[in-house]
């Protein structure tokens, strides 16, 4: 196997699936990144983050569709193309932009199957999430909790390149609408990624580290940080289960609950806001279904209830760091 970045892994998945299945199309603003420019060059960027590079020359403009900046029409077109039998992969670049096309997600894609007596709408919407690049309040949000609360769509958040490829291949083959959230701080992270075809089923989390003292659930960019903290604590003899759910809808409740029933202690680290968010949801899950196993109050580690700031020092303050995660784990272990 070769090491690939998450950017390369996602690009490879798109190439392989478009080659395998002629009904897959890619649609979005700048997906080739050069249409109509004065240089006459197409595919110069392959999207602002380079994720769709090389697709246009290989698959042509009938299947790799550069659009105007029109998120409602991009997601709406993906919806209609899916109802008409294609498997569109739409890109809305920054997840923050779902504000302008939320109707097409909330009221259309999520509900076609239910309202239309089982109609299939197999579409994927790829978007970047997360803070860390001083991109400020309209380019840094983590919207997975908003999306997870909507029945009818699935929500995927890979934390490494290997998962990203397998989950994206699964997402495109899945017959439900899938929101595929790519953390912009992870694009350059590399790990071993197979060249061939493989899928990762939805609703199956992964036990990243094993231990009996506490359960730590982390998502997105915090999985990496949590690994570092958990490994450091292991040197002191504090051993934790570390779980990456990989998909928030469906959520691997059993993996989390089994672990909590063993350890009796739970820390949840997540980047969405503290109110009505994923961390609160998982904490409530433990309270509902593993209450008598709990030996300490559940602790959640999230940003504060505020928009994402621009100034780098404030953004660092906003995001949970290793010290906060370590302190949270120690606090559930305290007598």
């Amino acid at each position: 196997m070769t090491k690939k970045t998450m950017r390369e892994a996602i690009n490879e998945a798109l190439h392989q699936e478009m080659a395998r299945d002629p009904s897959v199309i890619v649609i979005g603003e700048d997906v080739s990144g050069g249409a109509g420019g004065s240089s006459g060059q197409r595919d110069v960027a392959g999207g602002v983050f380079g994720l769709t590079k090389g697709l246009l020359p290989k698959f042509g403009e009938h299947r790799v569709i550069d659009t105007p900046i029109s998120e409602s029409a991009i997601v709406g077109a993906a919806n209609g193309a899916a109802l008409a039998g294609l498997r569109p992969v739409a890109e809305i670049m920054f997840s923050d932009f779902i504000g302008v096309c939320f109707d097409q997600i909330l009221n259309q894609a999520a509900k076609f199957r239910y309202m239309f007596n089982g109609a299939k709408a197999p579409l994927v919407i790829r978007m970047t999430v997360g803070a860390g690049r001083s991109a400020a309040a309209q380019h840094s949000q983590s919207v997975h909790s908003l999306l997870t609360s909507i029945p009818g769509i699935k929500v995927v958040m890979p934390s490494n390149a290997y998962d990203a490829k397998g989950l994206l291949l699964q997402a495109i083959r899945d017959n439900d609408p899938v929101m595929f959230l790519e953390h912009k701080m992870l694009y350059n992270d590399a790990c071993e990624v197979p060249d061939g075809d493989y899928t990762i089923p939805f609703g199956e989390g992964v036990l990243v580290r094993e231990g009996e003292h506490a359960t730590v659930v982390a998502t997105g960019q915090f999985v990496k940080l949590a690994v570092a903290v958990v490994d450091k604590l292991a040197e002191e003899g504090i051993r934790c289960d570390l779980i990456d759910p990989r998909t928030t809808s469906p959520l691997d409740e059993e993996l989390i609950l089994e672990s909590v029933r063993e350890t009796g202690r739970l820390v949840v680290i997540d980047e969405s806001s503290p109110r009505c968010g994923l961390a609160a949801d998982i904490a409530a899950l433990a309270a509902r279904k593993a209450f008598f196993s709990l030996r300490a109050p559940v602790v959640t580690v999230t940003p504060p209830h505020t928009p994402v700031p621009f100034a780098p020092e404030l953004e660092r303050e906003y995001l949970p760091d290793a010290a906060r995660i370590e302190q949270a784990i120690r606090s559930v272990l305290a007598p």
């Binding site: 709406g76 009221n107 309202m115 007596n117």
Partner: protein, 308 residues
């Protein structure tokens, strides 16, 4: 057209007696638009409808009995009793749904048009756009993108004079919607929304563009709705006698009858025979709907996902 008229009249009474739950928006008066346009389409072409979707659905060939069952919220209705009036759909017939969100259909039909273009079989997608939706950003986005992508898409603008309770003369800021559509680079074929043949001919011209790689086109028709925005709307915003005058002077069904008799294509007896047949069909639809099974509790969680 007669099926739609009879269907809507019966739906009106079924709603008022409480047999049909929820909100219902009737299409009576506008039949020539739906039928004139859809008569030019096959099951492999797509349409997407509006809030006022029954007429488009019937015109596209959806099962009338299944529709009546759906409106009565029955388990074997067209959408399993979970869509109702505002979401009635039949993908196999190329009917991608009525839509509860004003203007949401245009980008969805654009996507279906993209699928038609990719397959290269000369099929098209059409969206019905009311005067209210003609002011929505989604429609503007879809018009621009359809031009950019040369999508085989027909925008059918259907100005019935009111968006909800607001007159289109007030709600549309420009003097001329046609100019606005043309401003996107879309050719517009105008039609008389009270005249089946006028809409039919306009749709033929639009399809000539769409089916041969010419990209999007539009037809624009003015018409009138006989009922209020929803069933039960007291319509205090409308002048007394407005609807009666239209029913008298501009009824698309009367127009059609007169034209058929004048041309000698159908005599009075044949037209009456059709009307009787339609009456029997609607009667059967209502009877079957009233006696159809209701959804069961286990249906609540069915079809949320393909798998989860």
């Amino acid at each position: 057209m007669k099926v739609i008229r009879e269907f809507e009249d019966r739906v009106n009474t079924e709603c008022l007696t409480g047999a049909i739950p929820g909100f219902t928006h009737l299409y009576s008066g506008q039949e020539a638009v739906a039928v004139g346009a859809c008569e030019q389409l096959s099951d492999d072409d797509f349409i997407i409808s509006t809030h006022r979707g029954h007429g488009h659905c019937i015109a596209k060939g959806c099962d009338v009995v299944g529709m009546m069952k759906e409106l009565h919220a029955r388990r074997d209705g067209l959408n399993g009793g979970k869509g109702g009036s505002m979401h009635i759909a039949d993908i196999a017939k190329g009917m991608l749904g009525a839509n509860g969100i004003v203007g949401a259909g245009s980008p969805i039909a654009l996507g279906a048009a993209i699928a038609c273009k990719l397959r290269g079989e000369g099929k098209v997608a059409a969206s019905f756009v009311g005067d209210g939706a003609s002011n929505q950003g989604t429609v503007f986005e879809a018009m621009n993108m359809a031009v950019v992508l040369k999508a085989p898409k027909v925008f059918i603008f259907e100005n019935n004079g009111y968006s909800e309770h607001t007159g289109s003369s007030y709600g549309i800021g420009c003097d001329d919607v046609v100019k606005r559509i043309e401003g996107f680079g879309i050719p517009v074929f105008q039609a008389d929304g009270f005249d089946f043949f006028s809409v039919y001919d306009a749709m033929a011209k639009a399809l000539e563009v769409a089916r041969h790689g010419g990209g999007p086109s539009a037809i624009y028709c003015t018409t009138i709705r006989y009922f209020g925005h929803f069933v039960g709307d007291p319509q205090l915003y409308r002048a007394k006698g407005e609807v009666e005058q239209y029913r008298d002077e501009s009824c698309c069904l009367k127009n059609f009858r007169a034209r058929m008799q004048a041309s000698g294509e159908l005599d009075l007896a044949s037209l009456d025979a059709i009307d009787n047949e339609v009456g029997a069909l609607i009667e059967r639809a209502v009877n079957e709907a009233r006696n159809a099974p209701r959804p069961q509790p286990e249906d609540l969680l069915k079809n949320v996902y393909d798998n989860y």
